[in-house]
């Protein structure tokens, strides 16, 4: 290929290894030496040098972001436990853990898993539910508002781009931030203050979701110093899709239609950039700005085109832009694209920039030629720009043209399957956990720890964030994020339930959304962190009336640099937990995403994040009338605790407050948990439970207090009646964060039938709801009793974040 205007030929045929590496670095290709050599080999066979467009296309397609090459590569794993080494080699970690569980569980109601832009499960005879959660960490660190807004916009487009397009019904958002109370002088140069990041990120998610008219209904926030320079922003979207629109298939001859926003220099190198460690000189053009109004118009227009069967396939332009979108759609066919036909925001873009730009709000369609006119009419009606830029072929080649010149011509098979499998080493030392010295506290100390726990950043009210979001728009949110008997006093709901009656006429069914996140456990043991996150997500869904037999989960791994064996080792360890827990709970994974390389360097100092696994759960509820909230409902009702309390203070809130060094990290005991979860679903279904809340961060004391102050009813709890696995002090019982526990409220007349359901399981009656205004905890054994007014507890809980 001759050198031509607008497009350079890059010399690689005669480069040495060293030169290849520096070329990759200079052009921000993020390709390893092995990958550069594979590229060199390929073009040696073609007897020519690649063009810059070809180099960029390969770099985008082979990026960590698009191919997940770490998790699908070869990993040599060594686990060290009690001095014993066990070795295992993974050829594809994802396939051998997370995906394997789904295959083995083989649930009939999983309609589309791990192959499209989102996972889809069965809703009713005619419809499915699609759910996807993505991260947008690096852009949010640089430009919090734009980064999180485009994160939300991106995941909404994932739902639009699944099958032939789903209709988005709800958003979720989960964040990990630095400590907002950090002194400005302690913030490293070139990093935004955590509070500024928080405000920017929250308003970005708010503005995009609110303007699209999609409610943001569920979320979680975790604060830790580790995330100061590298905040984590997870955005999720759930939608419904007709079952006959789940399959997409491109036919040779279909026209390529690009729809929505125009292309500019936005987000160039976003995909490869996400595999690069951040530094202060990060590029301006990596920042993307969102435009929700355009996306809303695209949504409306494309759904009407979908219902008229005007196109055969669709996908969104995410990381890698047109390059990834058309590359994916044309993988099995081939494609010819005229880059000069792509509508631009401004002149002066090089062909390679047009091809890989990550400008927002764009979708790509495969349109049969006979529908050419009709589909353009529909987009025109909604004032959406839609332009044909090429055609799918059958020669399995990707050909890019600019005017009369061919600027790229590569085989699809090389592009998609040519990537060499990297081999990485991973090592995980399982730390030995020791039981802490018995924690005995006086009544006044117990109360102080309770109030401090409620005020802890990771427990306290997130009302300031939640109320900025419209969680009611569309009028289908029946279980809401804040729950209580009064606007002034509302407690944290466990999960959200959407009743899609406006979209699916006549339905009685609902969709439950929840999440689980425990990074503080991950600092000690990533296996237990993963297991706990899975259980927490399931518990939350079960609390509102979710059916454990109809729940499915999504994984989002955010880890540090996978080139370090101990970091990759901790990831392998948690992936194993995912497999085992998924099997044990019989809950399949339906989709997932990973974001590795979450590392940031300033000067010589390196900031690496603590690993985070976010588990998001989605499930279908048979009858939305059978859902409940967490505040107590009436005085005189009995309070029960389901599940065993164990001496597990490792990584807990109390261990942070009281500076307790040792402690066992909460483990998961799926055998009993599953039975309890099934029982709760049955009991809620029969109307035997008035309210239900799970014990997680802060333990039983926090959970009981939340149920109490959100309702305005007091409660008396006898600590001695709480069933424990070991001998424990009152403080340990109240603040242990053991998994598998639920606090439920039962009317006295239903007690008998309630107990019947939980026969053979751990059930303890621990107290009753009262109409005075006090939360009272008492232990005769230890001779401690403490009580506190509801208003005082609410204030502890509410006042931490109120900016």
């Amino acid at each position: 290929m001759k050198s031509m205007k607008d497009c350079d030929v890059v010399e690689i045929l005669n480069l040495s290894d060293k030169q290849l590496v520096s070329l990759s670095k200079k052009n921000v290709l993020s390709l390893s030496l092995a990958e550069m050599k594979t590229l060199q080999e390929y073009f040696k066979k073609l007897k020519r040098n690649p063009t810059d467009v070809e180099m960029e296309t390969v770099a985008q397609t082979w990026s960590e972001h698009c191919k997940h090459k770490t998790l699908t590569g070869i990993i040599e794993y060594i686990q060290i436990k009690n001095g014993k080494k066990t070795k295992k080699t993974y050829n594809n970690l994802l396939k051998e853990t997370i995906f394997k569980a789904t295959v083995e569980l083989n649930k009939k109601w999983c309609l589309s898993v791990f192959k499209d832009n989102a996972g889809i499960i069965d809703f009713d005879l005619k419809n499915g539910v699609a759910f996807k959660v993505e991260t947008h960490n690096h852009p949010s660190a640089l430009e919090p508002y734009g980064g999180s807004a485009t994160g939300t916009g991106g995941v909404i487009r994932d739902i639009l781009g699944v099958g032939l397009g789903a209709k988005p019904l709800a958003n979720t958002d989960v964040f990990c931030f630095g400590d907002p109370t950090t002194k400005p002088s302690k913030v490293p140069k070139g990093v935004h203050h955590p509070k500024r990041i928080i405000k920017g990120v929250v308003s970005g998610v708010r503005d995009y979701g609110n303007r699209m008219g999609i409610p943001t209904v569920n979320g979680s926030v975790y604060f830790d110093h580790d995330y100061m320079a590298n905040p984590l922003v997870f955005c999720g979207t759930m939608g419904v899709i007709p079952k006959n629109k789940i399959e997409k298939k491109v036919s040779p001859g279909d026209l390529i239609l690009v729809v929505g926003g125009r292309t500019g220099r936005d987000g160039i190198h976003g995909a490869t950039f996400s595999s690069v460690q951040l530094d202060q000189s990060s590029d301006v053009s990596a920042v993307q700005i969102g435009n929700p109004i355009v996306e809303k118009k695209v949504l409306d227009a494309m759904l009407s085109a979908r219902d008229l069967n005007l196109y055969r396939a669709v996908t969104d332009c995410g990381a890698g832009g047109l390059s990834s979108a058309i590359g994916e759609l044309g993988q099995k066919t081939g494609a010819v694209v005229c880059l000069d036909k792509v509508p631009l925001k401004y002149d002066g873009l090089y062909p390679w920039e047009v091809w890989i730009s990550e400008a927002q709000e764009r979708m790509v369609f495969a349109v049969p030629p006979k529908n050419k006119k009709k589909i353009i009419e529909i987009f025109k009606k909604e004032d959406v720009e839609a332009v044909f830029i090429g055609q799918f072929t059958k020669d399995k080649k990707l050909v890019l043209k600019y005017g009369k010149n061919t600027v790229a011509n590569i085989d699809m098979s090389f592009l998609h399957d040519g990537i060499p499998k990297p081999t990485r080493k991973a090592e995980c030392k399982i730390k030995e956990e020791k039981l802490q010295k018995t924690v005995k506290l006086t009544p006044s100390e117990l109360l102080r720890v309770l109030k401090k726990s409620l005020a802890d950043l990771n427990v306290c009210s997130k009302e300031w964030i939640i109320r900025q979001y419209d969680h009611e728009v569309l009028g289908q949110t029946i279980i809401k994020p804040l729950q209580g008997n009064n606007i002034e006093i509302s407690g944290p709901g466990d999960a959200a339930v959407i009743f899609p009656y406006a979209v699916i006429k006549g339905t009685k069914k609902g969709i439950v959304l929840s999440n689980g996140l425990n990074p503080s456990y991950g600092k000690i043991n990533t296996y237990k962190m993963a297991a706990s996150a899975i259980e927490e997500a399931l518990r939350n869904a079960v609390c509102v009336g979710g059916n454990i037999e109809k729940l499915s989960i999504l994984d989002n791994f955010c880890w540090g640099n996978p080139n370090k064996p101990e970091i990759l080792g901790s990831l392998v360890c948690s992936a194993n937990a995912c497999y085992e827990m998924s099997k044990a709970f019989s809950v399949p994974f339906i989709s997932g995403k990973d974001s590795l390389h979450n590392e940031y360097s300033i000067g010589d100092k390196k900031f690496s994040i603590s690993p985070v696994l976010l588990i998001s759960a989605v499930g279908v509820i048979e009858n939305v009338a059978n859902t409940i909230t967490m505040p107590f409902k009436n005085s005189g009702n009995k309070v029960y605790i389901l599940g065993v309390t164990r001496n597990e203070l490792g990584g807990s809130v109390i261990s942070k407050i009281k500076n307790i060094k040792d402690g066992i990290v909460p483990n998961v005991y799926p055998k009993e948990s599953v039975q309890i979860m099934k029982g709760i679903y049955k009991a809620i279904h029969k109307g035997l439970i008035e309210s239900c809340h799970d014990a997680s961060e802060g333990g039983l004391a926090v959970a009981v207090s939340e149920m109490s102050f959100s309702s305005g009813y007091g409660v008396n709890i006898n600590i001695d009646y709480i069933k424990t696995a070991d001998t424990m002090s009152a403080a340990e019982i109240l603040f242990s964060e053991s998994n598998g526990r639920f606090i439920v409220e039962v009317e006295p007349k239903n007690e008998h039938r309630f107990k019947e359901i939980f026969k053979g399981l751990t059930v303890s009656e621990v107290g009753c709801v009262s109409d005075n205004n006090f939360v009272i905890f008492e232990s005769q054994k230890e001779k401690v009793k403490f009580k506190e007014k509801l208003t005082s507890l609410i204030n502890s809980w509410k006042n931490t974040i109120s900016w």
Binding site: L142, E143, P184, R196, V287, I289, V294, Y346, A359
Partner: protein
């Protein structure tokens, strides 16, 4: 080139300004700023008459009940410092997007101007102006501008002080 500033009328709550003031005080950047008045800024370039500009400001960009507007010549040597004309303040911080950054509001304005019936090719840039009163140094203003009001990765700021 015209600059159109949209501000909240005095008998209405300027919540954006109050929020910025709260932010300045609570973030520890400065305790000596006493008041902040917020204006959104639209820089409009094109062959427009003053009447057309007035129509854009009153019919499109401002809410006539709660907001007022002010039109000035923007940029060039003859641009006047008109701080005194609007508010008594000690300094003004102006924040606009850097060149090349997508400005979605501006494209909406360009489209809406056409919908108003003004069929001319125009360019629009959007930004913010913050009028600050109180006692503070240039360094404090710089800190407020780059730590709270702008992200220098995508925006640039200008500070004008009154003597």
């Amino acid at each position: 080139m015209f600059g159109i500033e949209i501000f909240t009328k005095t008998n209405y709550k300027d919540s954006r300004g109050e929020y910025v003031l709260y932010d300045i005080n609570s973030s520890g950047v400065s305790k000596s700023v006493k008041k902040v008045k917020y204006c959104s800024l639209y820089i409009v370039d094109g062959n427009l008459s003053l009447n057309e500009i007035r129509m854009i400001a009153s019919c499109l960009l401002s809410d006539n009940i709660t907001e007022g507007y002010k039109i000035t010549k923007y940029g060039g040597k003859n641009s006047k410092c008109y701080l005194n004309n609007i508010f008594v303040s000690k300094a003004m911080i102006e924040v606009v997007y850097k060149k090349g950054v997508t400005d979605t509001v501006s494209s909406s304005v360009v489209k809406a101007v056409k919908d108003l019936g003004i069929n001319k090719d125009i360019k629009v840039k959007t930004g913010h102006r913050y009028y600050l009163s109180g006692k503070f140094s240039k360094t404090v203003l710089d800190n407020i501008a780059c730590k709270l009001l702008s992200n220098t990765l995508i925006q640039e700021y200008k500070i004008k002080s009154m003597k």
